[in-house]
């Protein structure tokens, strides 16, 4: 057996509130396409970002080409020949192809950039990738697939000796994926192994030589692609039955309160219909980019839709704006609380009352006492740990910040709550409290749409689970069928092959 080109062992990485990696390992052989597989949050990206110098590991050793390395930043990693191509491409749209390829490494003579030698060099690099993009074109005019090739050409310009690609196929069509695979094979033949991060089963078998599966920050194992199958990989991703059980409260379901009918728009491959009863938790599963968040935003009126209706308690919403949805009784706990949930400069009270200011004011004038009381009630109810109600949010922990956003929606007394990753990035204790709260809410007849990447959460809390894949609803599993295996099968679209249309469920 050949010596590995790269060996990462005992990799630990801790983020506030999360142990992202625990003794993770990875070995990459020369001349292979190595697939890194795992659910959202399994630690794939963290591991790769450590490799490419974006994060520093807490512990562990990286041996690359026989030397122990510890890149202090992406630039140094590049110098070693470790280059990562991110899912969100990293190009400057206004600059030309050649300028992007050479960005930061412009050939100069006498302080002037040699445009001609840059264009010629760019053309050579692109030719190695068998593509004939004009190096003088601005990148903004290229398709995503072409931009990806520019990124790869840039990596080659940096003398990459190992290329990491994070879900490169996410935005590509099937023919473009085929072309990309051809490029990857050529690269590997040229002696540049590729680590390919993906969770698309069919692709693994089309391009991968070996596959390493990660779960919860651990490395589960490495298999030769030719010697494994979908069933085994899914089992490795899911793992043994989860130890931490999330208790489900049994609630008698009421009337339908949220009815989504034929919702269609740009992010959706086909119209989406679903309904939720009072007291019900409808889980929504799906991998990153499957359209879960887009679904919640479309229901809430945050994104425009092309067709379809959303009705709350039988009354269709007409205006399609957050303000109207809220007035009808909808609430939306966003995935990204810093960007879309909290006003960090404002106090705890001000954040909680934001949606309910109308209730505590008369003729536009806020009754500060009533407002305080409103906030105080929610803070007590949710056990939010704050020094004072006037405290700025910036100093609260993630869990407490999340509870403040929750408090805002509770104060607004919503009938339907859309929860997008409600427990992301918060500690175990706060998680349990939020589960407890969701139980209380459904007991009071609130309907919850729960988007989550945490399997135990979905399986434990949901009455039913809707599974999404690439913008379409693959199916809604009844309680009796809600298992991790079943969810993952739908989520990774087993049975879907490259070049075929997704099967209807």
């Amino acid at each position: 057996m050949t010596d590995p080109l790269l060996r990462m062992s005992g990799m630990d990485k801790h983020f506030p509130g999360v142990q992202a990696l625990t003794e993770a390992e990875l070995e990459v052989l020369p001349g292979e396409v190595h697939v890194l597989l795992g659910e959202n949050g399994a630690g794939k990206s963290t591991l790769m970002k450590i490799l490419c110098g974006q994060y520093a590991a807490d512990a562990g050793e990286v041996v690359f080409a026989g030397r122990t390395v510890q890149p202090s930043g992406p630039l140094e990693a590049e110098r070693l020949g470790l280059v990562m191509i991110h899912q969100e491409l990293n190009l400057v749209p206004g600059l030309t192809v050649a300028e992007n390829i050479y960005l930061g490494h412009e050939p100069t003579s006498g302080g002037l950039i040699g445009d001609r030698s840059m264009a010629a060099g760019a053309r050579d690099l692109l030719q190695r990738l068998k593509c004939d993009i004009d190096p003088g074109l601005p990148v903004a005019e290229l398709s995503v697939a072409e931009q990806q090739l520019v990124e790869i050409a840039r990596a080659l310009q940096r003398q990459a000796r190992l290329l990491v690609m994070d879900e490169p196929s996410a935005a590509l069509s099937d023919t473009e994926i085929e072309a990309l695979f051809a490029v990857i094979r050529d690269l590997v033949d040229d002696g540049v192994p590729v680590i390919y991060i993906s969770h698309r089963m069919p692709e693994i078998f089309a391009i991968g030589d070996r596959v390493t599966v990660m779960r919860d920050g651990h490395t589960v194992g490495t298999r030769k692609v030719s010697e494994t199958g979908v069933a085994e990989l899914i089992k490795m991703m899911v793992g043994r039955t989860i130890a931490e059980r999330v208790p489900k409260r049994e609630v008698v379901l009421g009337e339908v309160v949220l009815e989504v009918d034929g919702l269609s728009g740009a992010p959706f491959a086909q119209p989406i219909s679903l309904s939720i009863h009072a007291g019900e938790i409808l889980g929504v599963a799906g991998l990153m980019g499957s359209g879960r968040t887009e679904l919640a935003r479309a229901i809430f009126g945050a994104d425009p839709i092309d067709a379809g209706t959303v009705s709350v308690a039988g009354r269709p919403l007409s205006g399609h704006s957050p303000a109207e949805s809220i007035a009808a009784g909808l609430g939306f706990l966003t995935e990204d609380r810093k960007q879309q949930g909290l006003v960090l400069q404002c106090s705890v009270t001000e954040n909680i009352s934001l949606t309910s200011l109308g209730e505590v004011s008369r003729a536009g004038v806020i009754d500060l006492g009533a407002e305080k009381e409103l906030a105080r009630n929610e803070v007590d109810r949710l056990h939010i740990r704050v020094a004072s109600l006037d405290q700025e949010l910036i100093n609260l922990s993630g869990g407490n910040q999340q509870k403040v956003v929750l408090a805002r929606w509770l104060a607004a007394r919503c009938r339907v709550l859309l929860f997008d990753e409600p427990t992301r990035g918060i500690d175990v204790g706060a998680k349990a409290e939020i589960y407890e709260l969701m139980g209380e809410l459904v007991e009071h007849g609130v309907a919850i749409l729960l988007i989550s990447s945490e399997m135990p959460e979905l399986v434990g809390l949901s009455d039913r689970v809707a599974v999404m894949h690439e913008g379409s609803l693959q199916g809604i599993l009844p309680r009796s069928e809600v298992t991790q295996e079943r969810i993952l099968e739908l989520a990774v679209a087993v049975g879907k092959h490259l070049g075929t249309e997704p099967a209807r469920c």
């Binding site: 007035a327 960090l344 004038v365």
Partner: protein, 650 residues
């Protein structure tokens, strides 16, 4: 919006520090009258600052308030002179401001363009509408009852009372109402606010409306104070208001700030200007000091923000901002004074101080006048203080300078008024304080003066009408009585500009073959004249001559003509005979220029002021200094002005 007390008080400490500093440095600074003066002079900026505070906290910016101020002032003045009642006129001005602001808000919200662009557009449009509306002339002759707005109640200026009331209201709105709360939420996190059901668009429109409204209120008060309105007022005021808000701790990133901070910011700016005047620091250095304080305030604000995320700020670091800003302010002031002292103010033995207030000090014309004045002052052993605004159009600033000079108790003021109507109330104030005002170079509007009982002592300056006529006759002769002529005017509505234009037209009256095909203003500016001339050249292929009402504009026109390759076809005649023009006449690029003798004005101004104060000798009503056309034949005899002193006047 939650801030610890020390952070809130920091800017206040800076303000107090400045007051103490100036109080020690100048005996004229710490008087009740002068402190009220500072407040009055900060008032317009403070009121505009309220609007800007809301806008900036909401994460936006408003560049239009200066222009809206001009437009609203004109509307109010126009309503008054056409016979509307005072309340209606006030309402009219304020309503126009509100509407302008609402339009900015609508455009930025529904047009989905950044507020910077939307309000930049409004800034240009409102300024242009103001000029069209007023035919680019100031409006004056306002009823006495309207002047009450700039009077006193129990010894406190109405302006100061209005500011106090507005700030209390604004503070309550910002802290106690939905509008205020949503302003913070939108600026802090617009996405989150929208997703929480805040009707972001509607509130943004309201916020820009409020900013426009404040500009309207400021306009009414300023019009009352100047007893006139001009389409040129308020240039750069948007930037001063932004500066006041930022010094007061409003974050340009949005979501943070308090109106009371802005008030302190406006007072700091007003104090710096007033105090620097009191120390006779040249106004050119003001920008250095205010700019330094502004940048320091933001740098420290940033530093504090970075600190926020990590460690709590403890110990002396809590006071770092106040210490550094304070030190910076002291260094700036001391530095400015130092420069002033080292450049040497002439001491006086008799203790007489004469103030020289030109429109600006940015051209050789005023420079020569100042130099000759200083020479004469030294010969007569009196002190000459020169102060000027940065821009000839900044009428309000010149007004403030006069107020400050009155506070200092100078013995006489030599004034080249930058507004023939707007400066009248300031002259009245000087009269009331028993300080004689002698006019140099530019007259004031006699009607406006008479209406408030201002006594015009004397006018010392060129006969601009005659100068224009000389140029007209010369040009007609040069062209042989036939040809197309374009006129590039100064700021219309200005006495000087109008006299020169009218004089010129009378000079060509006897030559029916001469046709004036275009007459446009270039605001006295060389760069503007270049553009104006370019357009004229496009439109008039047969043009054979250009008359520009000053040399700066003439030289701009010459460059444009040269660039178009038409130097051989078109001759240019200017006014003032500044050194650059003389050079061009000598080299044959310019046909001629009407020479004035600014040094004469400076010398005679000081002479007459001293004669009056020392010996009670009243000057004649009018002292006309000579004008002379300089062309290529006599250019070598023409020695640049400083030597042009005319012995027969002595």
């Amino acid at each position: 919006m939650v801030r610890n007390l020390s952070a809130r008080l920091q800017t206040l400490f800076v303000l107090i520090g400045l007051v103490v500093l100036f109080g020690i440095a100048s005996p004229h600074f710490l008087t009740t009258d002068n402190l009220l003066n500072v407040m009055q002079q900060s008032a317009i900026n403070a009121i505009l600052g309220i609007g800007l505070t809301f806008v900036i906290i909401s994460g936006g910016i408003d560049l239009s308030v200066g222009s809206i101020l001009a437009l609203c002032g004109l509307v109010t003045a126009d309503l008054l002179v056409t016979g509307s009642s005072v309340p209606l006129a006030i309402l009219g001005g304020v309503a126009v401001g509100l509407v302008c602001g609402l339009i900015s808000g609508l455009v930025t919200t529904y047009g989905r363009i950044p507020p910077f662009i939307a309000t930049l557009g409004m800034m240009l449009v409102a300024r242009s509408v103001a000029k069209i509306y007023s035919d680019s002339k100031p409006i004056s002759g306002l009823p006495e009852s309207f002047r009450a707005l700039s009077g006193d109640i129990f010894g406190i200026p109405v302006l100061v009372i209005v500011v106090a009331v507005l700030y209390v209201l604004a503070h309550l709105v910002l802290t106690r109402t939905k509008l205020g709360r949503y302003t913070y939420a939108i600026g802090g996190n617009e996405q989150a606010a929208w997703l929480s059901g805040v009707p972001v668009g509607r509130y943004k429109i309201a916020i820009y409306g409020l900013s426009g409204l404040m500009a309207g209120v400021a306009a009414v008060l300023m019009t009352s104070r100047l007893n006139a309105a001009s389409p040129l007022t308020g240039e750069m005021y948007e930037l001063y208001a932004i500066a006041a808000a930022v010094i007061g701790g409003v974050s340009l990133m949005g979501g943070e700030g308090r109106v009371l901070g802005t008030l302190i910011g406006a007072l700091i700016m007003g104090t710096l200007r007033n105090g620097l005047n009191a120390l006779n620091v040249p106004s050119a250095l003001e920008g250095m000091v205010v700019g330094g304080v502004l940048v320091a305030a933001v740098v420290l604000d940033r530093a504090r923000h970075r600190g926020d995320a990590k460690t709590p700020v403890t110990g002396w670091r809590r006071y770092r901002k106040v210490v550094v800003v304070g030190v910076l302010a002291v260094v700036s002031v001391v530095g400015a004074v130092g420069i002033r002292v080292s450049s040497g103010t002439s001491g006086s033995e008799t203790g007489l101080t004469v103030a020289f207030v030109p429109k600006a000090l940015n051209s050789p014309f005023w420079g020569e006048m100042q130099e000759a004045g200083e020479k004469e002052a030294a010969a007569l052993r009196v002190n000459l203080v020169s102060l000027a605004a940065d821009r000839e159009t900044d009428v309000e600033r010149q007004y403030q300078i006069i107020e400050n000079l009155i506070q200092q108790g100078v013995d006489a003021i030599l004034l080249a008024p930058s507004g023939s109507k707007e400066l009248v109330p300031a002259i009245r104030k000087a009269n009331d304080a028993g300080i004689p005002v002698l006019l140099l170079d530019t007259r004031i509007d006699e009607e406006a003066a008479a209406s408030v009982g201002v006594e015009v002592l004397t006018y010392i300056g060129s006969d601009n009408f005659e100068g224009g006529a000389v140029a007209g006759r010369y040009l007609a002769a040069e062209l042989g009585g036939v040809g197309e002529i374009a006129v590039i005017e100064g700021i219309s509505g200005h006495e000087t500009a109008d006299q020169r234009r009218l004089g010129f037209l009378s000079g060509i009256e006897d030559s029916p073959g001469i046709r004036v095909v275009a007459s446009q203003t270039a605001n006295w500016e060389r760069a503007r004249a270049y553009t104006v001339a370019e357009n004229l050249l496009q439109a008039h292929p047969d043009l054979s001559a250009v008359f520009a009402a000053n040399d700066e504009m003439a030289l701009g026109a010459i460059e444009a003509i040269d660039a178009a390759g038409r130097m051989s076809e078109i001759v240019v005649i200017g006014f003032d005979a500044i050194p650059d023009a003389v050079t061009n006449i000598r080299s044959g690029r310019m046909l001629g220029s009407v020479a004035q003798f600014p040094s004469e004005m400076g010398r005679l101004g000081v002479l007459h002021a001293v004669e009056l104060v020392r010996r009670g000798l009243a000057p004649p009503d009018e002292v006309l200094t000579r004008v002379e056309l300089i062309d290529r034949f006599n250019v070598d005899d023409f020695a640049p002005a400083a030597e042009g002193a005319d012995p027969e006047e002595r």
